[in-house]
């Protein structure tokens, strides 16, 4: 079994899995490192370039991990969305309840 699952069915992608948690953990670090790294890089500080570099690499890893799953979640859900929307429009009206 691969460390990172890259092929998903819509059914499998509905569950929260380690791929989600990898994205959840990496994402804040990505923002912090890019923000601070870029700001420090503008002043040509070596630490800034290091932080920015790490930020870009982990951002790439994050999207590599989460994108296949998001595609599967989306394609599976969009098929049901129409029915859900119709139902939602019905319950939207206060007097019909």
């Amino acid at each position: 079994m691969a460390l990172i699952k890259r092929k998903w069915t819509a059914h499998e992608a509905d569950e929260w899995t380690k791929e989600d948690w990898i994205a959840i953990v990496i994402s804040p670090f990505s923002y912090i490192l890019i923000c601070m790294g870029l700001a420090m890089s503008f002043f040509l500080l070596p630490l800034g370039f290091l932080l920015l570099g790490i930020g870009i690499v982990i951002t790439f890893i994050m999207f590599f991990v989460i994108d296949p799953k998001l595609k599967a979640v989306s394609s599976g859900y969009e098929k049901k969305q129409h029915e859900y929307l119709k139902e939602l429009e019905r319950i939207q009206r206060w007097e019909e309840k």
Partner: protein
Amino acid sequence: MVHFAPLDYFWTIAYLILMIGAGTIFYRLGKRSESDFFLAGRGLPWWLPAISNFATHTATDTPMWFSGLVYQKGLYGMWYSLFAGWCAISAWVSTRIFRRSLAGTQAEWQTQRFSGLGAELLRGWLAGWQVALSMFIAGWVGIAMGNVCHYAFGWPLWYGLVIFSTLCTIYVIAAGYWGVIIADVQQGITMLIVIILVSIWAAIAAGGPSHIVASLKQMGQNEMLNPFRMTGFMSGDYPALWMITMIVVPFLGGFGMATHFDWFVEAQRIQSARSIRDASYSIWWGTATVIVRNAIWGIAILALYVMTSGKLSAKEAQLGWFIVGFKFFPVGMVGFFFAAILAIHISSIAGILNLGSMYATRDLYHHYINPKATEKKVVWVGRVMTVVVLLGSFFFGMMIGDNIIDWLFFALWLMIAGTWLPNILQVIWWRFNSWGYLSAWIANLGICWLVVWVLPAFGIIPDLPDYQQFWLLIILVAAVYIPITFLTKPDDMDRLVKLYVQTRPIGFWGPVKREAERRGLLQAIDEIDRKAEQMA
């Protein structure tokens, strides 16, 4: 005072026509339906709401408080701007859940997440709250424009507040969210280009990056380049607990919904995206651009610090970025800079007016007052409500005056402190019910004013630092909603099961999941998925 050459007038007038025209031209799309007027038909590719996200969150007040903080604290001040970090986790968690719910607004989500009278009260409460908050934010952003025009042209504050917000209302009324999105795209691109140009100009004027670093060292302000400085856990000007608060609160807030008031704006963009993936990417990349923007601003402000030897007063420093643009841009480009300020201003105001109107129309008028209203009538009410929110913003704008930063921290952090945890619990914990959530909102509203303003004024509690006020509010409000949650019944299982099957929330939903399995609902959904995959 800023002097305008004829070319500067040309830039300003041409850009105003372009902005209003680009928005208004989508009049026909905006009037097609309620969904078009408020959600652009729910079919946008991710990059459109992403640019809109960036444009809306780059408001006239943003460079003001950002300049004030970075001028005072150096790169350390950038931590304040990371409140936008809630999108880091939200993009992969609450955005996905909310997009699957298909709720048009956060208020509408309440009647999907909760049940019975409590849910309806919450929907009404959140809708009313959001209408008022939209007025407040539009007023706050509007008066920031008033301050900029006062600095640049010597106008009375209310000129800048009223003139430009009124002009952008034209395309919001005409084309609704379609107009907002389309105008945001050209406004977002324009403002990013100008932000980069101003920083380049400022860095050159200050002698380049190396000279700025050397000057800061000479001035004994080397630490201004260190965003990670600390003076102890809770002591000194840079306590570790402050930084921990600034990291933990926004980022973990991404597990919930409405943990930051920007969520309400994002919720509209999430539902306007054409798929879950598009919604997630729009949130992540829109905020990533905000974060890059902050880094670009940083060099302009520190360049100004060096050029002014750090001698600007706090109020002057708030106008730092504007001073750089007006002073260092060449003649003929000053008008282009002012056009970019207009883009910054109008994109935020337009988005907020449409948002406030959506809550007033969709959640108050259409849900409670006239559920049988035709699409045409709803769109018209939407237009009227846009004007109502605009007028309310004038009142709040004049109330705030030139006190932008003082209001910022209160509005951004403390007014939502007590509801921060409940906003997460509503997503991750099935047992958190409508009465617990409603009590949290009401208790927070009272307690935040007491802790921040009233009790310190009477000397009953000391005037605490903002991050300590935040944690204190979390504890005090929790003392209200946790007992209420356990003393009242859970929400109706039918409603919870329906929500679970549709949105698949993260966290502690065990009993609801088991009930959905017992009813065969998850298996039925999975069967639909399998059949669809086989057919594909």
